[in-house]
């Protein structure tokens, strides 16, 4: 089989305004994001023949978006998803273009994540008992929020590897520092100190509000096309070197074995597909629904050895200027939250050197990684280059 390495590119990225209360619908936010991405690519809306989205029943459909862009697409796809869906849909788009079905695909995530449905507040208990594998062994005990589900993994992992609350704080401080350089970050102008971080009470251990992603109203969009078609765009293409994903765990009820996460299995395949190693990565977007989720992935993707991740982040390596500048727009902890797409947009902008001449640019960066995590059972990641 032919490898897809360097034969597909992200040619446009864009976002809507982000706020606590958009006062509008996800369709409007999606239109704003899509138009921004189309303009960024230098395309016309009608150049796009495929539209894809991931949602939790909280968005508009791809068909609606295409309709109101004035496009009659060949293909639409809406999946239930969240973390890692950006990477997986990009893989789907590449596959459909490779199969000769489509030319150019727009992928978006649009949600009123603050004024509409709020993930962090938990879900309907009876729905969850049925929807989660083994849900009746979890929900009756009060565990209904991702912070509690992933927290169970975090406590054990931190115990085994020596990661402390202060280490988690370094993840937060690094991303908040990046947000101070990004006027569009939701927490721009709200820096965080270690003293404040450590003084903030936990909501559910080991996580306080700073360890937890934002919940906002926002739309994001990304346009994928072939390397040949990318030549027709006005933007600088960012090429896809490799992708990998995994949607399983040793048990569908993932608390059955909290020592494994799907990211552990994705990393090897990802680096093989891309033909690079962790040492080759200049800039990173690591899925950050919670601070510890970043730590666990730094281990999984080989950026620091198990047991040394705490020290790695405490040394400032996630900051611009560190060994692995990560979530350089502020990430989901402090920029915005669209289940990962905002992090993917940022890695594209870094690799295009959109910020050249400013403190936001990771100097000389050529290769970047973007990871997704929907939970211990679902991971997807891609490696990109300029």
């Amino acid at each position: 089989m032919r490898t897809i390495k360097d034969r597909y590119a992200i040619v446009g990225v864009g976002e809507s305004e982000r706020s606590r209360k958009s006062g509008t619908t996800p369709l409007h936010l999606a239109l704003d994001a899509a138009n921004a991405a189309i303009k960024d690519a230098g395309l016309k809306a009608t150049d796009i023949d495929g539209f894809m989205n991931y949602n939790e029943g909280d968005s508009c459909t791809s068909h609606q978006l295409a309709t109101y862009l004035g496009v009659r697409p060949k293909y639409v796809k809406d999946i239930q998803g969240g973390g890692a869906s950006t990477e997986m849909l990009i893989a789907d788009a590449v596959a459909l273009i490779e199969a000769g079905q489509l030319n150019t695909v727009l992928i978006y995530r649009s949600m009123n994540g603050s004024s509409g449905t709020r993930v962090g507040r938990g879900y309907d208990p009876d729905m969850l008992q049925g929807a989660l594998a083994g849900g009746s062994f979890v929900i009756p005990y009060g565990s209904a929020s991702p912070s509690q589900w992933f927290g169970m993994y975090a406590t054990r992992h931190m115990h085994e590897t020596g990661i402390t609350k202060e280490h988690l704080g370094h993840v937060c401080l690094s991303f908040y520092e990046h947000a101070q350089r990004n006027p569009k970050a939701f927490l721009h102008g709200k820096p965080l100190t270690m003293e404040n971080y450590l003084a903030t009470p936990d909501i559910s251990s080991p996580f306080n509000i700073h360890d937890s992603c934002l919940e906002l109203d926002e739309g994001n969009a990304i346009i994928v096309t072939s390397a040949e078609k990318a030549e027709d765009c006005t933007s600088k293409p960012v090429y896809i070197m490799g992708m990998a994903a995994r949607q399983c765990h040793p048990h569908a009820h993932y608390w059955n074995d909290i020592d494994h996460v799907a990211s552990d299995y994705v990393a090897k395949e990802l680096y093989e597909n891309a033909g690079v190693t962790p040492d080759d990565i200049d800039v990173a977007s690591i899925y950050d629904c919670f601070s510890w989720v970043v730590m666990r992935q730094l281990e999984a993707y080989g950026f620091a050895k198990r047991g040394e991740v705490g020290e790695f982040v405490a040394e400032g390596n996630l900051k611009i200027g560190g060994k692995l500048p990560t979530n350089t727009a502020g990430g989901m902890l402090s920029e915005g939250y669209t289940h990962g797409m905002n992090n993917a947009i940022e890695i594209v902008r870094q690799l295009r050197h959109d910020y050249d001449g400013t403190a936001r640019q990771v100097e000389d960066c050529k290769i970047g990684i973007c990871t997704g995590w929907a939970g211990p059972d679902i991971a997807g990641a891609m490696i990109l280059r300029n």
Partner: protein
């Protein structure tokens, strides 16, 4: 053992065709675990077949009511994420590693436990809380000896 005095507000475990023997045993203040007759793996939570090998030859093993374990992991929640927990904060939610079957971990709350005393590895004992007239919920308390 705790007897509920007011109407129980928290979610009650939903029995289904696969997990009913576990919850039926719990209602009798007993622990039962599903086990594969082919590969000998325990399936917790139980399912239609063995989660390890897919075999349909699964049966139930009774463990009685003297169930000891240690804390494998835990979270302490200071906010209620479900109805009924608002009056019992903070809530300790733990994964208990069974002494007799260490590969089996069972989630539950640790009752009668101060947060400051909570740690990974601490010995705990299963207890059953009668939550309605005919239902009981397996829970954990710190081991006394």
């Amino acid at each position: 053992m705790t007897q509920s005095t007011t109407a129980y507000q928290k979610p009650i475990p939903l029995k289904d065709i696969d997990n009913a023997p576990y919850w039926d045993a719990a209602d009798q203040h007993q622990l039962a675990l599903q086990k594969c007759d082919d590969c000998n793996a325990y399936s917790q939570p139980p399912g239609p077949t063995c989660a390890k090998c897919g075999s349909e030859n699964v049966s139930w093993e009774q463990f009685g009511d003297d169930i000891t374990a240690t804390v494998y992991s835990y979270v302490v929640s200071y906010r209620p994420f479900l109805p009924g927990f608002q009056d019992e904060l903070p809530t300790i939610i733990a994964l208990a590693q069974l002494d007799k079957v260490p590969e089996v971990k069972i989630m539950g709350n640790i009752l009668n436990c101060q947060e400051k005393d909570l740690e990974i590895g601490m010995p705990i004992q299963m207890t059953w809380v009668d939550i309605t007239e005919d239902r009981a919920l397996p829970q954990w308390i710190p081991a006394t000896n």
